[in-house]
Amino acid sequence: MRARLAGLILTAGSVLCFGQPKQPPAGLGPVQSLIDSGRLAEARRALAALDEPEHPAVRFTAAVLAYREGYFGSALQMLERDPSLAQNLDARILRAATLDALGRDAEAERELESLVSVPGAAERPLLHFGYGQLLLQRDANEEALARFDRAIRLARGHADARMWRAIALMRLGRIKEAVEAAESAEALSPDSEPVHSLLVKLYRLSGDGDRAARQLRWLREHAKGAQ
């Protein structure tokens, strides 16, 4: 199972603003660091040893950890069982990403649609990026393009948003613009296989066999290097 909106979940440590009168337990910070560094088994052990397992920030961190471990079903249960998380912006973003990972894209889309107009959320480029991907899935290419444009305005260095913008343009038949968008993604992320793979297709669609061949060579060399 792949989590398409995984990028929405920036870091466990970036999302703890619960307005709780009580501070989260002191050991939570190291747990978040472990999650962010991918040391998930250690994070789970450290989380289990915390003193205040019922604190909303701890419960939220547990949901992030479950998500990162790929236990999307468990993560969703945690989020939906806890009323204190229901209105929290970050918990809602996590919920949308989790629904998406479970293939419940219509629900994920509804959640993202409602989130993009929420103050504080509307300025998050990843939210627009994720929403754009879901829109593309239902062939709403114009709307998706607008979301990717917004994400890029908010984060000009967002290579993935530029790549997906290129895909939206390609599906709209705007091949020349799609090539430009994909090339801008390549400039930002020169080692991205998906970008090179997209460029093969776009160059072939635009009849530029030489450039397509160069991209193919890169992909084949890169694949050999990865073996």
């Binding site: 079903g73 468990s74 479970l102 293939g103 219509a106 239902r138 998906p194 970008v195 093969v200 297709k201």
Partner: protein
């Protein structure tokens, strides 16, 4: 001209494709056993295939099922592990004739592929499996002879390939069917890697296993086969092969090969006069537009938009969506049509295994049937039980699909065999399920639509005409081609079917035989199985 105008019946007439579960009265008691005993061996996930073919030429489609074995021995230690052959009676009832036929088999079987490799008029059977494949020659008297060793298809060593699917096609157009075997990963039961936390082990991701090269066996015409995988350009591109399908994607008369791979890029072997070049990246079918490999499972390589060019449909895992690639025709390029087709939203929550593109409601547009199941032991990941219902997606025209009602019974579905088992002109389906009864599904879609089925008899071409491309004209054009290699680990009838909608008159038929000859037939009567012999 497309067939769309011709078949523009009121929507209500085509409202639903419906199947009735007739397993209980079918006489099929077979249950696919994977031999699971708690050790979570990777092979347990993958069986098993089904085949629909008329082994006795009585005009009724018969059924063959592959079956697992004990683990880790990979031996069929009792009759519950036997492969099974059922003789069909043309009414969706069947009789078990395994023993007489001599097809109980040995080892851990995965896939079935049917084809008349010796051109004697009786379809033969290849059974792919774990470290052991088998070729059974149909003697024509209801029995089969295991000719694996004689044919040169026995593995060179005891740790042979793990083959998941196979298919027959005439790659060199010499009139004899050759064999393509889709291989998965290197696997040894003694070296199974533990995956997941100790308190809840799960089956491992395929990334923990090395890929394998597929194999191409050339039919020498004397009952033996030559492994030409290296010389033909197949061996150089290892994969993690699942389903395999054949079609002449570039219209040059030479059949190309598509392999759906598990979590690595798909492969498209372009046939250049008998030499293959792997071109999936160039053709745009290695990945969806995202550039990320999916967990490819089953595939079908057929024209789903009636433009005369074969397209591709591929099942995958939850959050992959089942892919649809539309053949653009120019420059040997496909477009990722998954979102436009409607399959992205309709399938992103599913995990699919075998499948097939058939016109179940005979309205002129091919529909998509998928056999579904998430991987077992993923309840924590999924938040739900992993057993699923099968699904059918109705083709609404020009490559678009809409989901139909979920079919009865949830299970761990795997292989599919498609044929018109009761000869009513509607394609039925039989689906295997891990450690559960098969599902025998009678197509009971309400429809006054007309149809035509064509049974080919090759002369210069292979006897079954596999690879022949057929165009049917009756005010519009429909396209299909002869193949038995459909879905995942499975094989379907060789008869080529067309739904004609409300076109009640005769049709014109054009057959492009693999030999290169083109046959035109005018005024072909419909609502029947027409026999077409190569001149």
């Amino acid at each position: 001209m497309r067939f769309g105008a011709l078949v523009a019946l009121p929507l209500a007439a085509w409202a639903q494709i419906q199947f009735e579960d007739v397993t209980a009265k079918s006489g099929i008691g077979f249950q696919l056993r994977n031999g699971a005993a708690g050790r979570l061996h990777q092979v347990e996930l993958m069986p098993g295939g089904a085949a629909a073919f008329d082994f006795d030429n009585d005009g009724c489609a018969d059924l063959f099922f592959t079956n697992g074995a004990s683990l880790p021995s990979l031996r069929k230690t009792d009759a519950s592990f036997h492969n099974r052959l059922y003789r069909g009676h043309c009414d969706l009832t069947f009789t078990d004739v395994t023993t007489k036929a001599g097809l109980a088999g040995e080892g851990y079987a995965m896939a079935a592929a049917t084809g008349d490799y010796d051109n004697d008029g009786f379809a033969d059977l290849f059974v792919a499996g774990v470290h052991r494949n088998a070729l059974y020659r149909n003697r024509g008297d209801g029995t089969f002879e295991d000719v694996t060793r004689k044919a040169g298809l026995a593995p060179a060593d005891a740790r042979g390939d793990w083959s998941i699917s196979a298919g027959w096609f005439d790659y060199d157009r010499d009139g004899r069917l050759d064999l393509f075997v889709s291989n998965y990963v290197r696997w040894d039961p003694a070296r199974e890697v533990p995956c997941g936390p100790p308190e809840h082990r799960i089956y491992c991701h395929p990334k923990w296993y090395e890929p394998q090269s597929h194999r191409l066996f050339r039919n020498r015409g004397d009952g033996t086969f030559a492994d030409i995988s290296a010389a033909a350009g197949i061996k150089a591109s290892p994969g993690k092969g699942m389903g395999v399908a054949f079609a002449d994607a570039d219209g040059d008369g030479w059949p190309d090969v598509f392999v759906a791979n598990d979590s690595v890029p798909n492969q498209l072997f372009r046939n250049r006069k008998g030499q293959f070049e792997e071109v999936a990246l160039e053709a745009g079918v290695a990945y969806p537009d995202s550039g990320k490999a999916i967990a490819g499972m089953g595939c079908d390589f057929r024209d789903f938009d009636n433009d005369g060019r074969p397209d591709l449909a591929i099942t995958g895992m939850v959050n992959d969506a089942f892919l649809a690639f539309r053949n653009l025709g120019e420059r040997f390029l496909f477009e990722d049509f998954t979102a436009q087709s409607g399959l992205a939203r309709a399938t992103v929550h599913l995990t699919g295994w075998s499948m097939g593109l058939f016109d179940f409601d005979n309205d002129g547009w091919k529909d998509l049937f998928t056999a579904n199941a998430h991987f077992p032991r993923l309840e924590r990941q999924l938040g739900a039980a992993p057993e699923l219902s099968n699904t059918v997606f109705r083709g609404t025209g020009r490559g678009r699909f809409e989901p139909g009602p979920a079919l009865p019974r949830r299970a761990f579905y795997r292989g599919t065999a498609f044929a018109d088992f009761d000869r009513d002109g509607r394609v039925d389906a039989v689906v295997t399920a891990l450690n559960a009864p098969v599902a025998v599904l009678r197509n009971v879609s309400r429809s006054e639509a007309h149809w035509l089925a064509i049974r080919l008899k090759g002369k210069a071409s292979n006897r079954q005409g596999l690879g022949a491309q057929i165009k049917v004209d009756g005010g519009g054009s429909l396209y299909n081609h002869a193949t038995t290699s459909v879905g995942y680990a499975s094989s379907s009838e060789a008869i080529v079917r067309f739904g004609l909608g409300r076109h009640a008159g005769p049709v014109r038929v054009e057959v492009r035989w693999p030999s290169g000859s083109v046959q035109q037939l005018g005024e072909v009567k419909i609502d029947r199985v027409a026999e077409v012999a190569e001149p």
